[in-house]
């Protein structure tokens, strides 16, 4: 469960988040959507502690996000762009992350098999294709069985087979009671996996609630059309 209160952030003259109040419910998949520059990535990076909290506060399972990095041991993060040290191999990268997390004994390497990555893990990361690197990126996010997964455009750069595999995986961890926060520009992807939706526009929360409720309120069948209507009307009636 993530509790966000009066979160406000400026980058110079740009007011990126404006007094955001939000609860992200545990055990569900929450999609954050909105036009470019709406503050989606900033919000995610603030939950991860990458972007400093200006005003307001974020609590992840009761722990206030601040200088203590310990809470991040329970978070798996898949950034939008997968760039790794060029001369390390995939296996070394995995070993590094494991080391940094204190040698986690039990890992979930199920995605390595499902993405057929085993043969690629011995090669330097610079020789892997963009899609393969994105698969490694996904493996790392799920590897330590985190309670919270933060996925930024997870399906970008993946082929349809890998993309489906990843969506299946998201559904599985959700069924196991874990929390997922995801952004994507592909709203049809989110329609298939998201329980809740947060619509951000110019740093404000335009809608936060169940996908089902948004569709009812906008009288639309698909998430894409529902969001399009919210964007046109500026808010949910």
């Amino acid at each position: 469960m993530i509790r966000i209160r009066e979160l406000d952030k400026r980058f110079g003259s740009a007011h990126v988040l404006r007094a955001v109040d939000l609860d992200i419910v545990g055990g569900r998949v929450t999609a954050i959507v909105g036009p470019n520059g709406a503050g989606k990535t900033t919000l995610m990076k603030m939950i991860l502690g990458l972007t400093r909290i200006g005003e307001g506060r974020i609590l992840v399972d009761g722990e206030r996000v601040g200088d203590d990095p310990a809470y991040r041991a329970h978070i798996g993060y898949m950034p939008q762009i997968a760039r790794f040290p060029e001369n390390l191999t995939g296996a070394e990268l995995i070993a590094m992350m494991r080391d940094l997390r204190g040698g986690a004994a039990e890992v979930d390497d199920d995605l390595i098999a499902r993405f057929q990555l085993a043969d690629h893990l011995g090669k330097p990361l610079r020789v892997l294709s963009g899609g393969t690197r994105q698969k490694v990126n996904a493996v790392l996010a799920f590897l330590f069985r985190p309670e919270l997964l933060v996925l930024d455009e997870p399906t970008s750069g993946l082929d349809p087979v890998a993309s489906s595999t990843l969506k299946d995986k998201i559904a599985e961890v959700r069924a196991a009671g874990r929390t997922v926060i995801v952004t994507s520009h592909v709203l049809s992807d989110l329609d298939a996996i998201a329980d809740d939706i947060v619509f951000l526009n110019e740093g404000r929360v335009g809608f936060a609630g169940a996908v089902h409720d948004l569709k009812l309120a906008t009288r639309q069948l698909s998430l894409e059309r529902a969001i399009a209507q919210v964007m046109l009307e500026g808010a949910v009636a």
């Binding site: 980058f11 990076k45 991860l48 502690g49 990458l50 972007t51 400093r52 200088d67 990095p69 310990a70 809470y71 991040r72 041991a73 978070i75 993060y77 950034p79 762009i81 997968a82 760039r83 790794f84 040290p85 060029e86 001369n87 390390l88 070394e92 070993a95 590094m96 992350m97 080391d99 940094l100 997390r101 204190g102 330097p124 790392l140 933060v150």
Partner: protein, 261 residues
């Protein structure tokens, strides 16, 4: 093992496999070998000193700046792990400064090992090696400070090269002009301050004090030697050089701590 050392360990693996680093070691090996083979002695040491004072700051600051900009997304990924920012900053910096220093030391020492019978490495060479390592750390730390402050890669690399140019070439010229303009005034103290304010000048004086080549020290170095005498001068210059490592390191760590990724 601490988190910082874990980061250093994996970054070392990455950097040690980089072709540029191998080329850097080979360059020093070839230069040193050539200088030892065609003459050796104090003149070779002076030539080597000039290479060390020009090249080490340049390679350290450019290599570190480019590496850290390139690793920007990976830095974010590491920050999303249970890692403190200070640990990551120090780990990334050491992971670059250590292999850069090692490459320089390997390149420098192999020719002396090969010619151990005819060419005896003297104290000046050891001082040069130590200065090279300190300059590597100082300029790598400057690079880390620049990357922490400037998000625009092109601008950051430009500032890095500008800083190198300013400290290696422009600085001495400006100091000379200033000293000539105020030639009527007692200039010993300002000259000393000017020298301590530039780590490359400090390293030059340290090496030259050992080479007994005061005439080549330039005005600041000559003043320095007269002021402190050789031993005191060397001790103070060494201390100042070590402190120089701390300045960009602390400034960079502070900026990194507050940075929005």
């Amino acid at each position: 093992m601490t988190t910082t050392l874990k980061i250093v360990r994996y970054e070392l693996r990455d950097v040690l496999r980089s072709r540029s680093l191998i080329a850097y070691a080979l360059f020093f090996l070839i230069i040193t070998e050539a200088l030892v083979r065609f003459g050796g002695g104090p003149r070779a040491a002076l030539s080597l000193m000039n290479v060390v004072l020009l090249l080490i700051p340049l390679v350290s600051i450019v290599f570190t700046t480019m590496y850290l900009y390139h690793a920007r997304e990976f830095t974010e990924m590491l920050l999303a792990q249970p890692v403190r920012r200070s640990q990551l900053f120090l780990g990334q910096l050491l992971g670059l400064a250590v292999p850069l220093s090692a490459a320089f030391l390997v390149g420098l020492s192999i020719p002396f090992v090969l010619h151990a019978s005819e060419e005896r490495p003297d104290v000046a060479l050891v001082v040069m090696a130590a200065c090279g390592v300190l300059l590597t750390f100082i300029f790598a730390a400057f690079a880390a400070l620049i990357v922490a402050r400037i998000d625009d890669r092109v601008k950051g690399v430009g500032i890095a090269i500008g800083l190198w140019l300013a400290l290696t070439i422009l600085y001495d010229g400006l100091v000379m002009v200033a000293l000539m303009m105020f030639a009527d005034l007692p200039l010993e103290r300002p000259a000393l301050v000017a020298m301590v304010a530039n780590p490359i000048d400090l390293a030059r004086v340290l090496i030259l004090l050992r080479l007994d080549a005061a005439a080549l020290m330039g005005y600041t170095g000559a003043v320095f030697e007269r002021f402190f005498g050789s031993t005191w001068g060397a001790v103070l210059a060494s201390l100042a050089l070590v402190m120089w490592t701390g300045v960009p390191l602390l400034l960079g760590a502070r900026r990194f701590q507050r940075k929005d990724f």
